[in-house]
């Protein structure tokens, strides 16, 4: 495959044609904040954390869905971008009920670590405190909608890696909700294979293994990547 040469944060790098700006940056050791991106499933450009500046284009572009092109000059780290990233996280914290101190994912939550990383120490918006339920009807797993950030990583894993198509999104706007099958209780789902891939995909404590204490909930996300590689590239050893 032919290569493309581009600059990211002043660094000259080359990337394969068709690679995303995010892939190119990651390979060059440049870290761009992400939330909805998950290695192994296709990208949707939804969380907007990975927005970057491209010289000559007045719109900000998501690094995860933007393809590399010859000669582009990308900035991933500017005062403006980081301000928008902090605001995005503030909006998320105010949107549902993220009480970190009592969360199964405390210490392993991507939302939490992004907030630390970006120096977010308080939220300036009014907390909305919506009422969301916890679905603990499944034998092995649970879902706490209060901690869901609607990244749809679980939905994409469930459809495109497991192929079960159990998880989906229903509703609009702030009322959007991750559902199982036709908005049934997870425990009643006939399509769920109990594979646990959705739980592995979740960046927060919204999806959890039952009975897991805080320390146990570190997820093995490289496993998802392995499954995808195995299927698509026929590489069976990790």
């Amino acid at each position: 495959m032919s290569a493309r040469t581009l600059t990211i944060d002043g660094k000259q790098i080359s990337a394969e044609k068709g690679a995303s700006v995010l892939q190119a940056a990651t390979e060059a050791g440049i870290k761009i904040p992400t939330l909805c991106h998950l290695e192994g499933v296709y990208d949707v450009g939804a969380c907007r954390l990975c927005l970057v500046e491209v010289k000559g284009i007045n719109k900000l572009l998501p690094a995860c869905t933007t393809r590399v092109a010859e000669g582009i000059e990308v900035t991933t780290n500017s005062e403006r971008l980081n301000k928008y990233r902090r605001m995005t996280l503030e909006l998320l914290f105010a949107e549902r009920n993220h009480v970190c101190a009592v969360c199964v994912a405390n210490g392993h939550c991507e939302l939490q670590s992004l907030a630390y990383g970006l120096g977010l120490d308080h939220v300036r918006y009014d907390y909305i405190f919506p009422r969301w339920e916890v679905d603990d009807t499944h034998r092995l797993f649970g879902m706490d909608h209060n901690r869901c950030i609607l990244c749809t990583r679980c939905v994409r894993s469930c459809w495109h890696i497991e192929g079960a198509g159990t998880k989906n999104v229903a509703g609009r706007g702030a009322k959007s909700k991750i559902i199982t099958d036709l908005n049934q209780k997870w425990g009643d789902s006939e399509s769920c294979t109990e594979c646990g891939k959705c739980v592995m995909s979740c960046p927060t404590g919204a999806l959890f293994k039952k009975g897991s204490a805080v320390g146990e909930s570190e997820r093995d996300r490289t496993k998802l990547e392995f499954i995808v590689n195995a299927r698509e590239k026929k590489q069976w050893n990790a």
Partner: protein, 543 residues
């Protein structure tokens, strides 16, 4: 079907017409005021008064003056049409008797009223004239001739060239040059290409596209067929919201009739060109008007936008190159093909050509649909055609572009209505909603109304729009409740900037516009509602 057959249909149909034509508006607006009963009673009255031989009662589409409806127009009695306004079913006898010279005290409209006189009709030329459920009516006024000309006398590239020359820009809101879009799709590699007509029309208060679909469905079908020929597509989809049942049923009738005559289907006008159209019914989400969400919906998926590029012209419906245009954009095509791009470009301003249909509503005397040449001063629309605000009040502002647009204050009423001038004022042309506000209107409330709309209609996919509109609405509510401070206003402005620049699709990117434009021109109305900041510098100083 050949051109001779088409002409024969036209001649036969014209020959069968009666001397006097009584046109009854049967569009959704007048139908809601029992227009079907009016038509039935008119037909009975014609029979009872023995006028069968010379009078024909015709179902027609929207005549535009919806605020005065139900409307009944009469041709063939006087030199100009006679227009009866605010008609009730029981008025039918008196209307028919008036044809024989019997005086009535029914309300008669003035055909020279500026509301009509200042219009230039291209898209709505046949609205209120022809029967939308009879293809013969459309053929009799020259329908499907443009398609014949394109197929038999022009190369696809020439069609694109003519549309480019016309200067037509998309009427769905953004004003993208139509010719350029067609050219891109035509050049996109791919054996299979699609055409989509966007009839989602979700702006609150807008009904321009509905009216065109209800009044003149063949005009849109013919425009789509010409577009398909130009870009090399053989399948079209008409996306119409489920809330438009009349438009859907008339389109279904129109497609069936066109197919029966071979004007849609395989080998149209005995050329190798094939084109089929299917209707797709949307569930009424505003976001499904956004082109990528609309295509997801046509594919049977959840209607959420996806990042562009790739643009539909390269990779659209089912991954194929797709041309998507608005209803009104397609409705301009037959006129451009018949009369030429140069003729079209002679109407309007340097960068905005042709006409635009607006739904004129709000605090204004004459409401309804108008089609005006681009560049007409806003003042002529609201003061002369619209007759100003009711009860002698003063006009304060005109809102254009719906939830993506802005409020233009009265001091700019002399602005010409074109894409650039409206954008310069912080609003947009939009799809054609025009809401007039008088001096009793509170602009913060207006901003909140649109923000609430965007919050409710946000698809929820991206964080800035989903959570940002909710916070902006919350801040606006606080301001209105007199519980906000300068800090809150600053937070609102900061969110406007962030949501505009980081949202995934046009819904989020433009959601802050109503706030930004009212802040620009009516900032004092926000500031009057603010409370002193308890934690601000003044408060700390007294500690």
């Amino acid at each position: 079907m050949q051109i001779e057959d088409l002409n024969a249909i036209a001649e036969k149909h014209i020959g069968s017409r009666k001397k006097i034509i009584v046109r009854t508006c049967m569009s959704a607006g007048c139908m809601s005021s029992r227009a079907d009963a009016i038509k039935k009673n008119l037909e009975t009255a014609v029979k009872e008064q023995g006028l069968d031989a010379e009078v024909e009662v015709r179902r027609v589409g929207c005549m535009g003056f919806c605020g005065q409806g139900p409307l009944v127009g009469i041709d063939g009695v006087k030199e100009k049409e006679i227009l009866f306004e605010h008609i009730k079913p029981e008025d039918a006898n008196a209307i028919i008797a008036s044809l024989k010279g019997v005086e009535s005290n029914l309300e008669i409209g003035d055909p020279d009223h500026p509301f009509f006189a200042k219009q230039t009709k291209i898209v709505r030329a046949n609205g209120g004239i022809i029967d939308p459920e009879k293809i013969e009516d459309y053929i009799a006024i020259g329908g499907y001739e443009a398609l014949h000309n394109a197929l038999t006398e022009m190369q696809p590239a020439q069609v694109v060239e003519e549309v480019t020359k016309s200067g037509l820009r998309g009427r769905g809101g953004a004003g993208f040059p139509t010719g350029l879009k067609w050219g891109t799709v035509a050049k996109s590699p791919g054996a299979k290409k699609y055409i989509i007509c966007n009839g989602d029309e979700g702006d609150p208060g807008a009904f321009m596209d509905r009216s065109v679909l209800e009044s003149d469905p063949h005009l849109v079908l013919e425009g789509m067929a010409i577009a398909a020929y130009a870009v090399g597509a053989d399948q079209g989809f008409l996306y119409v919201r489920a809330e438009y049942p009349l438009a859907i049923s008339r389109l279904q009738i129109a497609i069936k009739q066109a197919k029966a005559l071979g004007l849609l289907g395989a080998g149209i006008f005995e050329t190798p060109f094939n084109f089929n159209v299917d209707i797709r019914i949307g569930a009424g989400a505003f976001v499904c008007g956004e082109e990528t969400a609309l295509m997801m919906s046509v594919e049977g998926k959840r209607g959420t936008p996806r990042p562009r590029p790739p643009f539909p012209a390269e990779s659209g419906l089912f991954g194929c190159p797709t041309l998507i245009n608005n209803v009104e954009s397609f409705a301009n095509i037959t006129a451009i093909i018949k009369k030429g791009g140069d003729w079209y470009a002679s109407i309007g301003t340097e960068k905005s050509k042709g006409t635009k249909v607006f739904a004129l509503t709000g605090k204004i005397n004459n409401t309804g649909l108008i089609e005006v040449p681009m560049g007409i001063p806003l003042r002529q629309i609201v003061e002369e055609m619209g007759g100003g605000a009711p009860d002698g009040r003063k006009i304060k502002s005109v809102q254009t572009g719906g939830p993506s647009g802005g409020c233009i204050p009265a001091e700019f009423l002399d602005t010409p209505v074109d894409f650039e001038s409206l954008a310069k004022l912080g609003s947009i042309m939009g799809s054609g909603g025009m809401v007039v506000m008088d001096d009793t209107t509170n602009m913060v409330e207006i901003a909140k109304f649109y923000m609430e709309f965007c919050k409710d209609e946000s698809c929820g996919k991206c964080i800035p729009c989903r959570a940002g509109t909710a916070q902006m609405e919350n801040l606006l509510n606080k301001i209105i409740a007199r519980q906000a401070t300068q800090r809150d206003l600053a937070k609102l402005e900061e969110l406007c900037d962030m949501v505009k620049n980081t949202s995934l699709c046009g819904l989020g990117q433009t959601a802050p516009n109503p706030v930004l434009s009212t802040l620009k021109y009516f900032r004092n109305e926000y500031e009057e509602l603010l409370q002193p900041d308890k934690f601000g510098p003044a408060a700390t100083a007294t500690k």
